[in-house]
């Protein structure tokens, strides 16, 4: 069942357990209640009668179904295909094997298309099956799930197509997923091969510990970047990788994301470049090549530093002309040079010519010049690149040999042979006088000696037998007799002689006579021995051949390369000795050319296969060998061959290395270039065209201003000049260059110095990477940031950002405005210290702990919403602030800043407070009203109780005949009177608040006098002395009201002072703090201090026995209050009189 395994079903499994379908009858009720409570609809179905029952409330969507859902078929009919078929199958499985199901179904209804259906089967005793289950509407869950899946798919597509390896690692360090690129990178076919593998098992042993530590750090939340290698030797791969800890909403690391890029090629390229450069320089040193670069068009010559010294050019001279070389060539050899150059330029032959050159130090050197022609696209020769090799030593070896040869020839010269003639038949021998001379005798001595025995006696005893054996052999074989032997001379010393001879035979073959000559070769032999020693010392092959190609000389090195000794070589022909007949023929052909031309010839390179199979390369000088003073043709060839195999191998390696370097730099996506110290590009790889659209040639000739964006050329010049001065390269310098299309390209440039073998800086070699896209992205980011910045700046709320250590980084203008900063202060440097100076208070005005400040809390990771606080600004003004604050985290989740947004809610708060005080006032009024109501009801009730009570007593009295009728009646009357007065005064009190008063200016003195007149009766009755202060201020008042108030006060004053001996009441005024205070003072019984406020209340009476209703002072208070005045009582204490004071507030007062 598909939904059984899908992610949502698993996630929901907890719910499914909690609301497992009912299985036991006994549990039904409780379980059903729980299910119903969870919004699930429970059903039961029995196979016996195919009846389906809904237990409790059927699902709501059934209301939209027009057929009753009472059996399996009608239940299935609710479900859309293909879910209907799946459900049907599940149903059958449940019947057959009691399998439970849990699946999500799409219904064929409008409002509730997705439900979750869970069911369980149980076998009944009669063999029937009962299914119990529930369904639940999961429309919302399904939507969320689909959306989640959609996002997952997008994300997966992204991850899978990213050109880098992206993988997830769980907290145990095991890889849990890997994208397609990653699998390809590791040569795997499906994720199953890598999932579950421990990350460290993918690393080599040497990286294990290091990466293990990084992994542990990453699990603790610290990301890292690192490199590691896999595999061995040439298949070793280098990866650049990083761990990114992923955090959940609580900030806990729950897994790691790993990103790995294969940087093998990059690293290899870097290594190869380095190696190639080193190899190239090494080869250059070994070969002692001095390079030159001759531009034909302008005769400009650039030479390497060694050559500069040889030619006597200053090191600072960058360009010379070809004269620098030709002027030093031996004039005799100039034609050879010119011929060679012509051959090279016109006929395309390789330049190869030797000449003596007078070096700057005055010494003559033999130079081998080699060169190669460069042509432009049209085939026109442009440059000649070449090298000069100092071959002086090789030449010197050849010259030495020639000198020895001449000495040998001299030795031979001037000798004459001694002749002998032996008559075998007679046994007599003719020894010529020269013969005798050669043996040290005078020509006349032994003239008579004819005996062959004499010769035998002269022979060295060790050689006698050998010589006679040789003679015998000659006589028999008739092979020429040619032998060297030693003979004792007259002085007794032996000398070496070379004898040649030939016999004559009779017709029967009997030898009759043998004649020959001897030659003293002692000196000659010595010379040859010396020569041999010399030539054997030379480490090159030295040989001589006669015109027929027979070796007449072979030094040890030469013989060795033929696998023989020198003696074995001598006398044998080239054809015999050279294993490869083709090579032999070529050698002989060369010999013939030399013999014919009679000139020294250089065979720059010839391959030679030694008998032992070694392949060697020889560079051979062949010198025509001729007898002294004799004209051409020569008689043979003298050769000196240098083994240049190693040189060739080095050259070959060099070329390979250069090729490799070239292929590297030409295939890399970066622009690789070389530049000389004058800033001219000397090399560019083809990527230049891709990046800037220029060709190699163009970049050499284009002025820098064309290549660079405005201002950048100067920057580059400065960079170059500085780098030359400091003899260092540069790294990751971003340069803005201008492509051919006019488009700006951002190149990240890195370079190293290029020095020649003497350590002189000759230029720079570098790599520029096109980072335009990155730069664009950065610009976009910057734009977004500036937008964000503008949004913050123009935000009507204050915004403050602090760094991780709590220092203010930014505050926007709205913030400055709230903080009361002036524009100058806001633009200035001291914003932080001003903000720091604000006192922060909580809503009760208590200073805030630093730890409670929202920004401080933000830095410890807490987010604060709608926090109320107060800031006391510098001028002491309080600002109510509503603050929201939150931490700012980097991608690793570390807190790097805190941001707070705050609004000035002072007005709002003040409004709130006003409202609160208004409410308080209202409540007070309400309470007063309530008090009023019940005091009124109480005080009105009292007289009624009196009236009714005494009426009752009266009835009783009458019935019992008691005579207290008058007393009872008088009490009833008094109570009725009091009640009437009460009602009048209450009405009066109510009127004061209701009726709009009519204000007129009136003198308080005049009003007081009027009041005194009106209350005259009481004054007279109690015999009170009343005094009214004259000239009291004129005020704007409601006359009648104020008179009424004064009357009340006078009445009170009279009543409470009447028992004094001299009751006195005074109405007057005084000025206090610029305010007119009016008063009515008496010298009566006074009021204790604690009752000063109470007596002003409604119905409050201190002395009820004095009569009255307790409303009088309340009326006065009300009148004064309607005049915006205040009323209070002053009395030193009981018996000391009382003074009622009042003001008349805003009422215009006139003196």
């Amino acid at each position: 069942m598909s939904s059984q395994s899908d992610g949502v079903a698993n996630r929901e499994s907890v719910d499914a357990h909690a609301a497992a379908p009912p299985t036991e009858h006994g549990d039904h009720n409780a379980v059903h209640q729980a299910l119903l409570g969870a919004g699930l609809s429970v059903w039961e179905w029995t196979s016996a009668d195919d009846s389906l029952h809904w237990i409790g409330v059927p699902p709501r969507f059934l209301q939209d179904v027009d057929h009753p859902v009472r059996d399996r078929a009608s239940f299935l009919a609710l479900v859309q295909e293909p879910h209907r078929a799946e459900l049907d199958a599940a149903w059958q499985a449940a019947l057959a094997s009691g399998r439970d199901w849990s699946m999500d179904l799409q219904l064929d209804l409008k409002d509730c298309p997705w439900v979750r259906s869970v069911a369980t089967a149980s076998k009944l005793a009669d063999g029937q099956v009962r299914l119990s289950g529930w369904i639940q509407c999961i429309e919302r869950q399904k939507e969320v799930e689909l959306e989640l899946r959609r996002r997952e798919r997008q994300l997966n597509a992204l991850i899978n197509h990213a050109p880098i390896c992206i993988h997830q690692i769980d907290l145990n360090g095991r890889i849990t997923s890997m994208n397609r690129t990653g699998l390809e990178m590791m040569g795997l076919e499906n994720p199953g091969q890598i999932c579950g593998v421990h990350y460290l098992d993918c690393t080599s042993d040497q990286d294990r510990t290091r990466i293990g530590q990084l992994l542990q750090k990453a699990i603790k939340g610290e990301g890292s970047e690192f490199e590691f290698t896999m595999g061995e030797g040439s298949s070793q791969l280098t990866f650049s990788s990083c761990f990114v800890p992923m955090r959940n909403e609580l900030g806990e690391v729950y897994q790691l994301m790993g990103i790995t890029a294969d940087v093998t090629e990059q690293r290899r390229a870097e290594r190869e470049l380095k190696r190639s450069t080193e190899g190239y320089e090494l080869a250059q040193r070994v070969a002692r090549l001095e390079r030159f670069d001759w531009t034909l068009a302008d005769d400009g010559l650039v030479v390497s530093n060694g050559l500069k010294r040889m030619l006597g050019l200053g090191e600072e001279a960058n360009v010379a002309t070809i004269d620098a070389i030709t002027s030093r060539i031996d004039p005799d050899y100039l034609p050879n040079w010119r011929e060679a150059v012509r051959g090279c330029v016109h006929s395309g032959r390789e330049l190869r010519v030797e000449f003596p050159l007078i070096a700057a130090d005055g010494e003559q050197r033999w130079i081998l010049a080699l060169g190669d022609l460069r042509r432009d696209a049209n085939g026109v020769a442009t440059r000649l690149l070449g090298a000069l090799t100092d071959i002086t030593r090789q030449r010197r070896d050849a010259d030495a040999l020639r000198e020895s040869q001449e000495r040998y020839e001299l030795a031979v010269r001037g000798t004459t042979e001694g002749v002998w003639d032996w008559n075998i038949t007679t046994g007599n021998v003719f020894y010529s006088p020269r013969f005798r001379e050669l043996l040290g005798y005078d020509s006349d001595d032994l003239a008579s000696e004819k005996r062959v025995e004499w010769f035998t006696q002269a022979l060295h005893p060790n050689e006698r037998d050998e010589v006679w054996a040789a003679v015998d052999e000659h006589l028999q074989t008739r092979e020429p007799f040619n032998r060297e032997f030693r003979l004792r001379t007259q002085s007794g010393r032996y000398r070496l002689f070379h004898a040649r001879g030939h016999a004559a035979w009779a017709d029967d073959g009997t030898p009759t006579r043998m004649a020959g000559s001897i030659q003293d070769v002692t000196e000659q032999h010595e010379a040859q021995r010396l020569l041999r020693e010399v030539v054997d010392l030379v480490p090159h092959q030295i040989f001589a051949k006669d015109a027929e190609g027979r070796f007449i000389l072979s030094n040890s090195r030469h013989a060795e390369d033929l696998g023989l000794t020198p003696d074995e070589v001598t006398g044998r022909s080239q054809l015999d000795l050279t294993p490869d007949p083709q090579q032999a023929a070529a050698f002989l052909a060369d010999d013939q050319r030399v013999i014919q031309a009679g000139r020294v010839t250089l065979i720059p390179e010839e391959q030679y296969t030694c008998p032992d199979g070694r392949q060697i390369t020889l560079q051979t000088h062949k010198i025509p060998l001729r007898l002294p003073q004799s004209p051409p043709p020569s008689v043979g060839v003298l050769g000196v061959a240098i083994d240049i195999t190693h040189l060739k191998e080095t050259e070959h390696e060099l070329r390979l290395s250069q090729d490799k370097f070239r292929s590297l730099v030409e295939t890399t996506s970066d622009w690789v270039w070389e530049i000389d110290t004058s800033g001219h590009y000397t090399y560019s790889n083809p990527q230049l065209g891709r990046i800037l659209g220029y060709s190699d040639e163009e970049v050499r000739i284009l002025p820098r201003e064309e290549l660079f964006e405005d201002g950048e050329a100067d920057r580059f010049e400065a960079l170059l000049a500085d780098s030359i001065k400091r003899r260092t390269g540069w790294r990751n310098t971003v340069l803005r260059m201008r492509a051919r299309s006019g488009e700006v390209r951002f190149l990240e440039s890195s370079a190293t110095t290029v020095v020649d073998e003497h350590g002189v800086l000759v230029g720079f070699r570098g790599i520029d990477r096109d980072i335009t896209d990155r730069k664009r992205a950065e610009e976009e980011l910057a734009k977004t940031r500036s937008l964000l910045g503008a949004a913050v700046e123009s935000s009507p709320a204050g915004v403050m950002i602090v760094d991780a250590s709590g220092n203010l980084q930014t505050m926007n203008r709205a913030g400055a405005l709230i903080g009361g900063l002036t524009d100058e202060e806001f633009e200035g440097e001291n914003v932080a210290s001003i903000v720091q100076s604000f006192e922060t208070l909580d809503v009760h005005g208590q200073p805030l702990e630093a730890a409670d400040l929202p920004l401080v809390r933000a830095l410890s990771g807490e987010t604060t919403h709608n926090y109320d606080m107060i800031a006391r600004l510098r001028d002491g003004e309080l600002r109510w602030l509503l603050v929201n604050a939150a931490p700012v985290r980097n991608t690793q989740g570390a807190i790097i800043a805190g941001v707070a947004m705050f609004m000035d809610v002072t007005d709002l708060k003040q409004g709130e407070r006003q409202r609160e005080s208004l409410i308080e006032e209202l409540e007070e009024k309400n309470a007063e009203l309530e008090r009023f109501t019940y005091t009124v009801s109480h005080d009105l009730k009292s007289p009624i109780i009196t009236i009714k009570g005494f009426l009752g007593l009266l009835e009783k009295d009458l019935a019992q005949g008691r005579d207290q009728v008058h007393d009872r009646i008088s009490r009833i009357r008094n109570a009725s009177d009091q009640m009437s007065q009460l009602l009048d005064e209450l009405l009066e009190l109510a009127r004061i608040g209701r009726v709009e008063s009519n204000r007129q200016p009136a003198s308080l003195t005049e009003l007081a006098q009027e009041a005194v007149l009106l209350i005259g009766g009481a004054i007279e009755k109690y015999n009170v002395q009343v005094e009214v202060q004259p000239n009291m201020p004129t005020v704007l008042v409601d006359r009648n009201r104020i008179i009424e108030a004064l009357q009340n006060l006078l009445d009170n004053a009279c009543r409470f002072s009447k028992d004094k001996p001299h009751p006195t009441v005074k109405i007057g005024f005084r000025v206090e703090a610029g305010e007119d205070i009016f008063f009515v003072a008496d010298n009566g019984i006074g009021i204790p201090h604690e009752y000063h406020d109470k007596v002003l209340g409604l119905f409050e009476q201190l002395h009820p026995e004095e009569g009255g209703t307790g409303i009088g002072l309340a009326i006065v208070k009300r009148i004064i209050e309607t005049h915006e005045g205040r009323l209070w009582i002053e009395s030193p204490g009981e018996g000391l009189g009382a003074t009622v004071c009042f003001t008349l507030g805003e009422s215009e007062s006139q003196p």
Binding site: I945, K948, G952, E1100, H1103
Partner: protein
């Protein structure tokens, strides 16, 4: 019977050291007379001490000022208390009595015209023992006073302090 004089306690019978059945705290002289008459009608030999306001009531019970002599200010069996009075009102009297270790056991019965919720609530908050409304009809008043005296003076067990047997 004559109206009582101002501010003076009005023992209705010959002062006897322990003879005080009722302390009547009432500022309205008419009501005072009605209550006294009513009480005597049903309970002829009753001793009633009259005070005019809360201040005097407290002075009597604390035996301060003019009530300094315990012989002349015996403890009442019950206090009948009006609420709205000058100076110290009835609620304040209850509060002070019921928070006094010495006086809190004396039964206090409120007898007032006020049906205000706040008065009823506060009286009980301060632990008044009973709260009665003054009826309008004299016959009803008499009935009330009859059952009141029957209950508080005849049936109710007088409070006893375990620590102090003075009262």
């Amino acid at each position: 019977m004559t109206p009582p004089e101002n501010g003076q306690p009005q023992p209705e019978s010959t002062p006897a050291a322990t003879d005080c059945h009722v302390l009547l705290v009432e500022d309205n002289p008419d009501h005072r007379e009605l209550i006294c008459t009513g009480l005597r009608d049903c309970h002829g030999d009753i001793n009633i001490v009259n005070v005019n306001d809360g201040e005097q009531a407290l002075a009597y019970l604390r035996r301060t000022g003019e009530y300094g002599d315990p012989q002349r200010s015996p403890r009442p069996q019950v206090v009948l208390l009006d609420l709205r009075m000058p100076k110290v009102d009835g609620l304040e009297v209850i509060r002070q009595l019921k928070t006094s270790e010495e006086l809190k056991r004396i039964p206090v019965v409120v007898l007032t015209t006020s049906k205000a919720k706040i008065d009823v609530a506060k009286a009980y908050d301060y632990h008044a023992n009973s709260y009665l409304l003054k009826p309008e009809e004299y016959s009803e008043l008499q009935e009330l006073l009859t059952s009141l005296s029957d209950y508080w003076l005849q049936r109710n067990q007088e409070p006893i302090s375990l620590h102090d047997d003075r009262g």
